[in-house]
Symmetry: C2
Subunit: 78 residues, 2 copies
Amino acid sequence: MKARVTVTLKNGVLDPQGTAIEGSLAALSFAGVNSVRQGKVFEIDLDTNDAEQARASLTAMCEKLLANTVIEDFEISL
Amino acid sequence: MKARVTVTLKNGVLDPQGTAIEGSLAALSFAGVNSVRQGKVFEIDLDTNDAEQARASLTAMCEKLLANTVIEDFEISL
């Protein structure tokens, strides 16, 4: 079973990388960009086909390794 | 209008970061992980509310800055 985990910075957490991209887009003459925030995405292929078990296991992975839950949110889609 | 752009490595392109995460998950005793691939996600807030225009503008941004289309694929969701 393939799953996708998206890790993004929580609102209010400074995102210098996003700000740099915003500046670069402006320098490339892309107008109308209000804000850019960058996050990470993990495509994880799991052995199990049980959605509930996969979700539990992915949540544990996020909490232990993939996300820093102090400053980041994660989202699991199966 | 908020858009999300996901940039992932094309199939066949080596992903050492994903492999390292896979190793770390194994070291943390997470079993049943076949593969991990890491990508990037951009949350972009645009001025326009026209989906077609937003998509065209985001495609141009990906091609010029956000993705390296030689080795990466991108996906736009509005």
